[in-house]
Amino acid sequence: MRHSVRVVVRLRLLQYRRAIRRWLRGLIEDRSIVLLYFMAFGGGAAWAYATLPSALSEIVRDASAPIAAVATRTGLVLLAALIWRQLTLGLRYPPFYLARGDVPMLLAGPIDRRAVVALRLVRAYASAGLSLAVPMILLGPFLMRIWGGLSPARLALVWLHLSIGWIGLIHWRWGVFHFERLKRVARVLRWAGIILVGAGLLALLVAWGIGPRISPVFTSTPTLAVGPAWTFPHFGAGSLGIVIVLAALSWVAVWRSVPRAGLDGLVRLSLWVSDSLALRRGDRDEELERLTARMRRAKARKRRGWTIGYRVGARAIAGKAVAMLLRQSPLAFVFAAAVFVGVLFAFVHVPVLWVKALFLSVIATSIAKFPLASLYRDAGNWAFARQLPFGEVEWVDGNAAVVGVWQTALGWVFLFVLFRFRMVERADLLPLMAFLVAAGYLVAQQAMLTLFAEVRADRLLQLAVRFGCLGTFALLAGAVVLPRTAGLPSWGAWVAAGGACVVLARAWRRLALRGARVLIERPWEVERKP
């Protein structure tokens, strides 16, 4: 066993060293883009971080509901969602995957498989601990302001609780992935979680939205009122001991289960992920062929959405889009930044509201195409794209995700600038941020449609795209104008507009899928077009 651990540790250290070197080399090669990104996003984040304390103070001062109570509920819902996700994720994915070479060298070699699993789990623990630590460190000062009695020591104790609890959940995920009995339990938990988290979200909506400031009617109903100010949940040494014992017990269970666990699923997923990564890096054609064959087999076996590797496939496409985005000329980014500042300037100075909204919609739909450089290239050379082992779902979802994040990030920067210049009410800030996520999703789907319409020269699609732009404009204008004319609370309008955006986006997605399917399955129809 000791020998196995020593061998695997040496291997992993060598791999990490090489990966870091490769990453650094990439950073140096693309240094102009990296610098630009660092200045744009790092600077934006620093600015947002600097302005948050004053914003938070004002929110706390103006809030009609006790902020600690609402924040506690929000935290609990987030925690419930996190636990629920980990409880059910094992139905499809193990907590880690292996490198491609591990299959013949480690799993079929003389290495104790428990050492291989244990060391991969350690990496999963580190990743879980860090992914909790980073937001907690960043948000620590604000959390301590919200909950008066919270100290750095207590915050650290909370982090320990959550991290160790998460380790237990990682073990559970390993079990669910490998053992049918636990799968059955996880399926029940999935539905229970959907109901519980849904109810929690509803309660949050009531707490945030239907407070006495918005609608005094609801405060007279005891069940809907926010109630007494909740204090920060107590995490002490006793509860930490329980969490540690539970995590240790689950560790023993994993350790004992490794020799009995079937490796089929893990090996299949590991090879899939390795090949996807290799494909993303553009390493070799053989990976492509294998991935294609594996995807076809998987598709024949299962319904698409549940196919192992589907998410990985969409991520591979998204990764490809991001890689292409990063390789754009720095001049393109300078141009985009200039357009952004120009739009902002015009938006601030144009007096008529509907003109502002129209202007914003048109610019938003135009700028959405910027991250689609990769898809434009593939669409122009669909013979290459057809070789890739992806169906229309991966193409559309992978690219739309990148566009959606891009649009939302730009929208938020835009929003914070307006907020800074007092053009957006404080009460509208959060609903607007949520709305921009939905609007980003809609614009992303429209961008996909635009692209497919252009490539196919399909008039129906082009018409749909134009209606889509008009629809966005109508939604945006409606959300801004309605609250002021109908006397509705503005947050209600933003939530309604966001919901409408999502509904519309789903419809656009269907059309985009249809467009992508034609390109994949019947490219000759496109080639005949002028």
Partner: protein
């Protein structure tokens, strides 16, 4: 232990059955033994269950039913796997390790002494014409070169049992010849080799016995002469392995509904 109780089998598979999640039966009641000092050819059409058989022997996939023993030990045990060498159907390598690092890593995993490992690695690199590539990463290689490295990783510790899945794929004729020579030498020193291949000409010149699989079941087993004598028609009894294979599998396919 083999079916008939003989103790010379290095690998024993008894009543192997593998049904995949989608309900497809890849192996159905497959039993055979692989003797020491023998090269056993595993041949069959696409989808016959050859790769599944190897993965079951390696303990890389769960068996639905049946027993596997590597020198009397279950394949999941570390001791059993220490005796194995495995050449996968496609080269599965680490992109971040050089050729020499791959081989040194395998040598270390198998606890080879430093001096022995160095000598062995140098010999293999030289034999398979990879000495000039020893500091290069596999991402820069052609398919054939990657295949060679994958083979060397399986041979570096001189395994007692070698399971090779289509090892000749992508190799140039000279490399095929060298690999065949190497496998013969391994057999002569007492190693057991299970060779799954579609290259029937290569198998015919190399293997001592053959297993012909069809749709997950054992269609025929034996030496070339034994397979010939099992054919019903007199004129078929002069056929080579390819002819025997076609005669047997066509017969099965014709009978199929």
């Amino acid at each position: 232990m083999s079916q008939n109780g003989e103790r010379e089998d290095a690998v024993t598979a008894l009543h192997l059955r593998k049904v995949y999640e989608n309900g497809a039966t890849a192996l159905d009641d497959l039993s055979f033994g692989l003797r020491r000092g023998e090269i056993l050819g595993l041949v069959g059409p696409n989808g016959a269950g050859k790769t599944t058989t190897l993965l079951c022997l390696l303990g890389l996939i769960e068996r639905t039913a049946g027993e596997v023993a590597i020198d009397g030990r279950p394949p999941e045990s570390t001791a059993a796997r220490a005796r194995l060498g495995y050449v996968p159907e496609v080269p599965l390598l680490y992109n971040d390790l050089t050729v020499e690092e791959h081989l040194r890593f395998v040598a270390m995993a198998h606890r080879l002494a430093e001096a022995d490992a160095s000598a062995r690695i140098a010999e293999l690199l030289s034999t398979f014409d990879l000495l000039g590539h020893k500091d290069e990463f596999p991402t820069t290689f052609s398919k054939g070169t990657r295949q060679k490295l994958s083979i060397l990783c399986a041979l570096v510790h001189e395994p007692a049992v070698l399971l090779a899945d289509e090892p000749f794929l992508g190799l140039d004729p000279e490399s095929v010849w060298r690999l065949k020579e190497h496998l013969r030498r391994a057999r002569d020193r007492g190693a057991a080799v299970l060779l799954s291949t579609h290259m029937l000409e290569a198998a015919e010149t190399l293997c001592d016995r053959y297993l012909i699989l069809h749709r997950g079941s054992l269609l025929a087993e034996g030496t070339l002469d034994e397979l010939r004598s099992a054919l019903p028609r007199e004129e078929d009894r002069r056929l080579g392995l390819e002819g025997i294979f076609l005669a047997l599998t066509r017969g099965e396919t014709d009978d199929a509904p």
